[in-house]
Assembly symmetry: C2
Homo-oligomer: 636 residues x 2
């Protein structure tokens, strides 16, 4: 099934082909007239000329007297000139200059005298007069075509008597979600329901690009329903996005529907994710309406909009597109990519020890949270097999580089307290930037060692000594240059269903249950392995030993959903899911930091948050934590 009928146009080619097709068909921006006072951010549809002058009359620019300058010829400190009433006029700032006057003398320089005033200096013609048209003359072009209006331009236009402006009408983009399983966002969906959030993402993007978005009700997977919905949207919109069903499978009706109401320019682009994209169009009363079939996964949809549809919107809205900014970064781990596609891989970026490091995030096209965490997108060109760890990659920035350069990069073991400390930091200093990700304790040690993170959370039990963390740091970073800082003591245990229906007492009861494990290199997995070994249990006896989750909460979620009988994790995670918690041990969760990062201002804020009363209270509410002299250095 699937991609049999899809073409595989390289991205640039697809973009050019589509834009040319739209241009040739006559795609044009639509025009409307709006009051100048509410035109901020809008784009002029034509050049706008001043209707009146600004100032619109010769205006006195000072309080004082208006007069003909020649009357003051020869006046000086020693030989003042006396002006009689009638030869001058008292004026205030903003008053029109009287007809026979050609200058203003300010009140401070005017001495009242009998029958008139005395001046001790000569005036020059046109002094202290704002001449008509000095700022803008009627007939002057105030702004040319296709100019995005800013506040000062609105001021200038109003000063120039322009009360209405022809602007590009915001393109109305219709968004039609399709799919039998789609349900409106809910905090209590049924199994099998797919929460329809793509429309919110896509409509927000369209609004950011200067469009109006119109989201239609979900259409079920029937060609006739989709076609009729499409027809309705074409009648009301300037562009239509159909989501999803853009592939070539049996239940993918987008191509058929677009062909029924218009034509397909191309179907299938050599990008990943995003391949099953349909670029089409139709006409309405001579107006060209782009019709787009977007893939269903949110990440694919976002990328296709950014890469292919943004330039179309720009053609329609005449807004100046901000060119994406790229940066060169070192990739933290091996990336394998297909030769067939230009691949987009979301990544965390951080500047640690002078180099910009890109840490690839989950590549799943459904993993929308990866876009929330991403600072950039690695572009792996078509015909490239990928990169080895440490190679340079080209990354499109999603956040300003300045911000990334200031960002504190935390990685390693997952604990919700890290998120809580970040939140406390941000509440105190709004300009706090922290990027945290979960790669397990061993991953944290290696990331700090390799200069990919400033800070790593670790909780690694040394089987020999029974102590935590120190021996690992000594072993894996023998070269030193790092510090280990106390963070927190926390309760690890088994999480099981409330009431403990299977009567689990501890590790010894795990055999033949459905277990859910953590990933390799995580402290929790190392702890399990140690406990199994102590009890001479073989991991093969643990059903689900190979089922891996990346966080305590994800393990708890699996148990809470009944898809596992037990998993190991911290008390805080068990509490969130209202699970029974069987304590196993108290462990030390510490922080590893490169010495060169100790002066990083964001790290110092993080330490303050860690030592704050607020964090103590939050951890108490979460349960299972002991904060004892956090931030204190541990002798290595």
């Amino acid at each position: 099934m699937a991609f049999t009928y899809l073409s595989n146009y390289p991205l640039e080619e697809a973009r050019e082909l589509y834009l040319n097709a739209l241009n040739q068909a006559g795609l044009k921006p639509q025009v409307e007239s709006v009051p100048t006072s509410s035109a901020n951010g809008r784009v002029t549809a034509e050049a706008v000329y001043a209707r009146i002058c600004a100032p619109h009359y010769n205006a006195c620019a000072m309080d004082g007297i208006a007069l003909e300058a020649s009357l003051t010829n020869g006046a000086s400190e020693t030989r003042p000139v006396t002006l009689l009433e009638g030869s001058f006029r008292w004026v205030n700032t903003g008053d029109p200059l009287p007809k026979d006057a050609d200058c203003v003398v300010m009140v401070e320089d005017v001495i009242e005298a009998e029958g008139g005033v005395q001046l001790f200096g000569a005036a020059t013609p046109w002094q202290h007069v704002r001449q008509i048209g000095e700022d803008i003359a009627a007939g002057d072009m105030v702004v040319p075509s296709f100019t995005q209006l800013r506040p000062s331009a609105l001021g200038a236009l109003l000063a120039a008597g322009v009360l209405e402006i022809p602007v590009i009408r915001k393109p109305v983009v219709g968004i039609i979600p399709t799919g039998n399983e789609l349900v409106q966002p809910s905090s209590d969906p049924k199994q099998g329901d797919i929460i329809e959030f793509n429309s919110t993402i896509f409509s927000s993007m369209m609004q950011e690009w200067g469009c109006e978005a119109k989201v239609y009700p979900v259409a079920v997977d029937k060609p006739e329903v989709i076609i009729s919905r499409l027809q309705g949207a074409i009648a009301e919109c300037d562009m239509v996005l159909l989501n999803a069903g853009s592939s070539a499978g049996q239940k993918d009706y987008s191509v058929e529907a677009i062909q029924a109401v218009g034509s397909v320019v191309l179907h299938g682009v050599a990008i990943k994710p995003g391949k099953p994209t349909i670029l089409g169009m139709t006409q309405k009363d001579g107006q060209v309406i782009p019709l787009i079939g977007l893939p269903g996964y949110p990440v694919s949809g976002i990328l296709v909009l950014e890469q292919l549809i943004k330039p179309v919107v720009s053609l329609m809205s005449k807004r100046q597109e901000q060119e994406p900014e790229f940066v060169e970064a070192v990739v933290s781990r091996r990336l394998v990519s297909s030769l067939k596609y230009l691949e987009f891989i979301r990544a965390r970026l951080g500047k640690v020890g002078g180099q910009v490091v890109a840490v690839p995030l989950n590549r799943g096209a459904g993993v929308v949270s990866s876009f929330v965490k991403a600072d950039g997108i690695i572009h792996v060109p078509q015909n490239t097999e990928g990169y080895e760890a440490g190679e340079k990659v080209r990354v499109e920035l999603l956040r300003p580089m300045e911000e990334i350069e200031q960002t504190l990069v935390i990685t390693g073991s997952h604990d919700p307290l890290i998120d809580e400390a970040i939140d406390i930091m941000r509440r105190k200093w709004t300009d706090s930037f922290v990027a945290s990700s979960h790669v397990g304790s061993m991953g944290g040690i290696m990331a700090v060692k390799r200069g990919e993170a400033h800070l790593g959370g670790v909780h690694l039990l040394d089987e020999a000594s029974g102590g935590y963390n120190r021996s690992y740091v000594r072993k894996y970073i023998p070269e030193g240059g790092v510090r280990l800082l106390r963070c927190v003591q926390r309760s690890q245990g088994l999480m099981v269903a409330r009431g403990n229906p299977l009567g689990i007492r501890g590790i010894e009861d795990l055999a033949n249950l459905r277990y859910v494990n953590r990933q390799k290199g995580s402290g929790t997995r190392i702890l399990l392995d140690y406990l199994l070994k102590q009890r001479s249990l073989d991991s093969k006896q643990i059903k689900g030993y190979e089922r891996e989750e990346l966080t305590h909460t994800a393990v708890a979620a699996a148990v809470a959903a009944g898809t596992a009988d037990a998993g190991m994790g911290i008390l805080a995670a068990a509490r969130i899911y209202d699970l029974e918690f069987i304590p196993i041990c108290e462990e030390e969760y510490d922080l590893l930091i490169a010495e060169e990062s100790l002066n990083n201002p964001q790290f110092q804020r993080f330490m303050q948050a860690l030592q704050s009363e607020e964090l103590k209270q939050r951890l108490e509410a979460m349960g299972g934590y002991k904060l004892d002299r956090p931030g204190e250095m541990i002798e290595l």
Copy 2:
């Protein structure tokens, strides 16, 4: 009068003093709850946690069969495993994983066989399953406090079952215009009317900064009226701007009004323009309301908002302020500044021949068009007397540097055809950037010579030869490296009132009339001087000889308003104002360009516009132009 009672706080000090005062009084952002689907761009008021997992169930990630992986142990190409009906279930992508299954085998790998299916490979547990919580687990922090929400975050929040979000309520900023002469924008104002456009500028700025703006009707200059309007605004708003009357003159009631309803933190800041600024506050039900008295001139108001009020808005909105970007530039002419103030001078910026040049614009605080033209603001620090031409200055960017680097800088003599050509360029290529300014023909030659402009319009009559331009270029740029290009022939003449009531026939009749002249160095003024000399007339005989305007249209405006009887200019300007035109001569308006700019892509576009049929038609409509082989090189 005036600034007697004003303090003179340095800008940084004033900002800190005010922010501290507001913080100590307890200025806090206000909070409201909004639907997630419409929260794009809003800022979270607290950390937001996932309510459900995403995915919220174990979901099949492929069409195929769901089964227990262990049933396939040992399956291979040569030894397939047969599964009987009942031991597996057919599933579609997105279906919930059946209770006893732990993996999915895709349909392409499933061979139907009698009584069931055959598999030619072993499945691994949890393959092709999107596990519950794989993206986000319930209880995870999705976004921390004070985070500006972007489209993907909304998607993640909806996927996590969060349907409403507590966000910072947009601060409501009340704007109260005051002044007896203020009138609503009009295309036909009376003399003395001041068009009230500041409120549009200020409210648009507030909206750009994430606020809601509420503009009140104009208040007349009476303390009791202003106080009562202020009280009304305080009741409805989170911050109030009072404009103008912020100085210490007799009719400046802002201080009195703010003191009546709250307190003044400081009055008077050492900046220019913008000195008479009032920073105050009051309380409403325990909420701190900043009260600001803004100076009346639009340029002053804009600068005060940018420099002092933006950080206050940021405190209230918790939006991350973009730090202003600065660039070092060479200033094109001498700038004198007062030691007492930090002075802000708007400037055009251009990159010509490798260096960034700042060309100061009109410093008038009322000249709002200068903000439309400005690319940056030169900061002249307090205690600095100014700069000599060619010195380096620090410029705050108002447009991205990339755009400035691409901008074609045109200067020299004014002709509306330049604006028309720019408009044609922009209509053809939306990413066309041109900065044009008027400094007269001689100014244009000097700007191109000094590398401050790419291109300059010149029309300079050589008294000796009667020819145009060539001898000036040879004389002032003997070093060469420039080209002179044909542009247009145009009719110069005297503009007089319709019907020519004074019966003016030509230059010989100018004595004792009210003339309006052009600035020194402009080709039109040089032409007048030549014509006067020819006729042995003395410029002293021309009343208004020293009255200078910078453009043809400004001269026409003066004549049209009846404040001058005659002025010299081009036919196109006379037509706009419906003036009588007495032709004097046909002159050659050419373009001077540095050879190194000939390959500038924006210049090449400009040439295309100059040679376009569209420009020809526009010039025909304007009248008085002859386009003959425009762009052709003139032998120097």
